[in-house]
Amino acid sequence: MNNYKGDNMVDETKKADKATIIVHSGDMDKIYSALIVANGALSMGMEASLYFTFWGLQRLQKGGLEKGPLSKMHFIGLGKSMIKSRMKKANVASLEHLFKDFKELGGKVIACEMTMEIMGVSKEDLDQDLIDEYGAVGTYIHEARDSKITLFI
């Protein structure tokens, strides 16, 4: 279900183009950016990998996806609720919805092992249903070296 390389209609013989994104920030707005770009890439026939590290990794903790603060004007949560109500008005999909689509279209999630060690996070603390792989910098480079798009968010 998650892997559908054979479904890529661009050229069956050629490897699909890829987007690899380092998700370093755990801020709500930046998680939105990462997932929207990744879902756009998947929708347009690319593969996509999200490498969650540092503050980004916190969003993979059980129940943590929507818990990030705003990167600016958070104001102890006031700014965030204002933005959230505006997003609701504009009918923006929830992070959970975007993540579900990301996985359905074959997107890959990598969790940074070093961050887990630093932050004292175990696999049991993380929402393991979301994670495809645990890795370090080598895994990122392996993904990124043949990616057409790489971003650090």
Partner: protein, 73 residues
């Protein structure tokens, strides 16, 4: 006639694009997916995705801000 209809009226970025992609994965080659929506940027971007995916754009029409795009897999 469409083999699958996708109604994304009122939905915004990136939902129309993603729903189009999900529908294309579900139909058989030669079948037609019809996407109906209101998000202006998606009317431009779905045809870009159709090209990138090597699909056939059958037609696009718009009435009163509601567009309809038909794609053949």
């Amino acid at each position: 006639m469409a083999d699958m209809k996708v109604d994304v009226k009122g939905e915004t970025c990136p939902v129309p694009l993603v729903e189009m992609r999900k529908a294309i994965r579900k139909v058989a080659p030669g079948e037609i997916v019809e996407v109906i929506g209101t998000h202006p940027a998606s009317k431009k971007e779905i045809p870009m995705a159709v090209e990138a995916l090597g699909l056939e754009l059958v037609d696009i029409e718009e009435t009163d801000g509601v567009w309809r795009i038909r794609i053949r897999k």
